[in-house]
């Protein structure tokens, strides 16, 4: 697929158009996610959050950039590293944080936890704990758009680790065969838990993984929110116009371990430090905004606003009561309305 390979090369040729207000908004979104995750890390350390908790710190530009390219009604689905996606979709920080602490005020009323949250209202379809499972589910969201004849698009996120799962390739085939409007986004943060992508994928350029199905693709710097937005706009437009699925590989990095219990000994401190100091997506956006003349007071206002939201969410997550004991038995099945003999 020479054409797709060329498309891939064009990934960064176009200097993204910079709109000050949009970039400020993106900056705020990324900062909100960063501060939320830092707070979640703190609450985990305090024993208020249990089980698995996978932080998105470092990868914020991916979801925020993607989100800039979609509209009302487009669907989003991802894996278990999902807090950032929920906030980017416009779900409330309180509801997400209260779910992390397993409280009644959480999006799943405490019954889902960090990996399992949903919002029909915000078109967020989870939050899935089994590596790769969300990729076929996300294909189904695209199927639903196709079936209903709508021009909505499904954004289906997964990590580079999941990209080796059989059902991911099954989904590529199905989506390409049926021309389903699905943007597959590989968030390549270089490590599937402790295994580096080099040790897990014979495919060295994951953006080419869609080529056997003729899927157009782009590889993009996932640490640059505008570059992501630019790629996302191309991908979403192609999907919306009925051309079938699109594959994006966003090269990104997570600063924290795979989950809270991961000491991350599989990489050096220097590697992490280098990414943080030279490629941080929030710092990048800030420098750009400063160059555009945004003043310190504007950043301060955003910082304060985000801080307040995070503090409120943390307070709410600790004061919202645990779910009623009767909740154990609810939501297993919906009542059926079949009238029979």
């Amino acid at each position: 697929m020479a054409q797709a390979a060329e498309t891939k090369k064009r990934g960064k040729v176009k200097e993204p158009a910079v709109d000050r207000d949009q970039l400020l908004k993106a900056y705020r979104s990324m900062l909100l996610i960063r501060r939320f995750e830092e707070k979640a890390g703190q609450l985990y350390g305090m024993g208020l959050i249990g089980g698995f908790c996978h932080l998105y710190i470092g990868q914020e530009a991916v979801v925020v950039g993607m989100q800039m390219a979609i509209g009302e009604g487009d669907q989003v689905i991802t894996s278990y590293r999902d807090h950032g996606h929920m906030l980017a979709c416009g779900m409330e920080a309180r509801g997400v944080m209260a779910e992390l602490t397993g409280r009644e005020g959480g999006y799943s009323r405490g019954k889902g936890g960090s990996m399992h949250m949903f919002s029909k209202e915000r078109n967020f379809y989870g939050g899935h704990g089994i590596v790769g499972a969300q990729v076929s589910l996300g294909t189904g969201l695209g199927f639903s758009n196709w079936y209903r004849g709508s021009d909505r698009v499904s954004l289906t996120y997964f990590g580079e680790g999941a990209s080796n799962q059989g059902q991911v390739f099954e989904s590529f085939n199905l989506a390409s065969l049926m021309k389903l409007p699905v943007v597959f986004i590989i968030e390549n943060n270089k490590y599937g838990m402790g295994t580096s992508v080099d040790r897990a994928s014979a495919s060295k350029d994951l953006s080419r993984n869609g080529l056997p199905w003729g899927m157009p693709s782009l590889q993009v710097d996932g640490m640059d929110v505008l570059a992501v937005r630019e790629a996302a706009e191309q991908a979403v437009a192609a999907c919306r116009s009925g051309k079938g699925p699109f594959l994006l590989e966003a090269k990104t990095y997570r600063y924290r371990g795979h989950s809270m219990s991961d000491p991350a000994r599989y990489r050096t401190r220097e590697e992490v430090q280098q990414m943080r100091s030279q490629h941080d997506c929030i710092e990048n956006a800030r420098h750009r905004l400063e160059a555009m003349g945004v003043e310190e007071a504007a950043f301060k206002a955003i910082d304060d606003e985000v801080k307040a939201i995070i503090q409120d969410s943390a307070d709410f997550a600790q004061t919202s009561p645990e779910p009623a004991l009767s909740e154990l038995w609810t939501d297993v099945l919906l009542p059926d309305s079949v009238v029979g003999g």
Partner: protein, 443 residues
């Protein structure tokens, strides 16, 4: 020397078929590999090729003959240039002569938990399933069918016959052989409120997709605090067919019935199939619908009322009796009915409970029956370990221990992977005599 050509068996469960067309006529030379005739089975139209060479000497079964039993001589080849005599044409058995399997006990005498749906007509389980899907697809534009060979091929077992023609390729969708992928895709579509019917060519292949059925379809409602339901039906033939070996012969009843968040249904008769499939499609929850390949071609009386539907979670007493309760589901209801007939000749009247639904399980109907008969025998085709029989027996023990006059007895498939050899296979699957013996142990 004449060589006979016999009616071939073209599928594991085929016992008879229609000789659709002769492609050679008397006097034609036939070489090995030549297509000589077309045969319609309950699943497909197949070409038969000659194995031997010679001249087609006589056609013994005419074109268009239905209900031709496997191994019936259908033609003769003259091998050494012997003279060709006038054809002796065997009259075909009309299709109407097909055996009608029906409950042996007259309906009037059976306890009737079902509403009376009025007029019935003889219907195969296959037709009943197709009709159920067609009726629900007419009723709700969000219902669609997908799976391997469901559209252009009309269904690997011909369950979806005619649906592509009526509903078109958007709603009757052929998938590649990719169970994990298309099941996940269907579950994703269901999360948005569409109502997919996923056909597994057989339930054996659902193991490829089990993560999506259990982790995604069954659990999402709970994990989302009730926000996101998954109205989907997983259906297809379950259990042993005939001589297809261990990987294609397995009962998944207890596997799926184990899972909260799923409903599991296992119909026996055409009425069960039609009424319960319609209910399954309308149900807002994921329903695993376990059919049986051997039952597909069997004929039962089925209500013709367009509104006919049966509630999930209600068992049916197929035969009333006072000496022992036999609990069965799917094809084993037929085995239980045959056993009940044999027992009746010995003066033992068995009450046969057709569970119909395995999750939820109609404990009440089973327990009420046992309170009357004081004895319980369960019959299932699957393995005994942690099986449905174990569950039913435990529920009876929990609810009616004091009514039992004897320990419950389980009849079940042998606890081995199913063998291929005919004699061993028979030895592994419950037969009516096993049920008779089990009953005799405790009555």
């Amino acid at each position: 020397m004449a060589t006979q050509i016999l009616m071939p068996a073209l599928s594991p469960t085929m016992t008879e078929g229609k000789l659709a067309r002769w492609l050679k006529k008397v006097g034609d030379d036939v070489r090995a590999g030549d297509v000589i005739a077309e045969i319609e089975t309950d699943k497909a139209t197949m070409e038969i090729e000659a194995v031997d060479e010679g001249k087609l000497a006589r056609i013994l079964v005419e074109e268009g003959a239905e209900g031709v039993a496997v191994n019936t001589p259908i033609a003769e080849l003259s091998v050494n240039g012997e003279s060709v005599s006038a054809p002796v044409v065997m009259q075909a058995t009309p299709a109407a002569a097909a055996v009608v399997v029906a409950p042996t006990q007259p309906a009037a005498e059976a306890s009737q938990p079902d509403k009376d749906w009025g007029e019935t007509k003889p219907t195969t389980v296959r037709e009943a399933l197709r009709d159920a899907m067609a009726l629900e697809m007419r009723r709700d534009p969000d219902v669609f069918l997908l799976g391997e060979e469901v559209a252009q091929y009309q269904g690997a077992y011909k369950i979806s016959q005619g649906l592509l023609e009526e509903f078109g390729p958007r709603r009757v969708i052929d998938t590649p052989i990719t169970e994990h992928g298309f099941t996940g895709m269907a579950v994703g579509a269901a999360l948005t409120g569409l109502r997919p019917i996923v056909e597994f060519m057989t339930f054996n292949f659902s193991m490829q997709a089990m993560d999506q059925i259990i982790n995604s379809a069954a659990k999402t409602l709970y994990m989302s605090g009730g926000q996101m339901g998954c109205p989907i039906v997983f259906r297809g033939p379950n259990g042993a067919a005939s001589r297809v070996g261990a990987q294609h012969s397995q009962c998944f009843a207890s596997w799926y019935a184990h899972v909260p968040g799923l409903k599991v249904v296992a119909p026996w008769s055409s009425a069960d199939a039609k009424g319960l499939l319609r209910a399954a499609i309308r149900d807002p929850n994921p329903v695993v619908f376990l059919e049986n390949e051997i039952l597909y071609g069997q004929t039962f009386d089925c209500p013709v009322d367009d509104e006919f539907v049966l509630p999930i979670g209600k068992a049916k007493i197929e035969r009333v009796g006072g000496h022992v309760t036999i609990v069965a589901f799917s094809i084993m209801v037929g085995v239980a009915m045959k056993a009940a007939e044999a027992l009746s000749k010995l003066g033992i009247e068995a009450e046969v409970v057709n569970l119909r639904s395995l999750r939820p399980l109609d404990t009440e109907t089973v327990v009420e029956s046992v309170k009357k008969t004081n004895r319980l025998v369960t019959v299932e085709e699957g393995w005994p370990y942690a099986g449905i029989g174990a569950e039913v027996a435990m529920r009876v023990i929990e609810s009616a221990f004091d009514w039992l006059d004897a320990p419950p007895v389980r009849v079940h498939g042998a606890d081995v992977p199913l063998p291929y050899a005919a004699n061993l296979e028979k030895l592994a699957l419950p037969q009516p005599e096993w049920v008779v013996d089990a009953v005799k142990k405790i009555v």
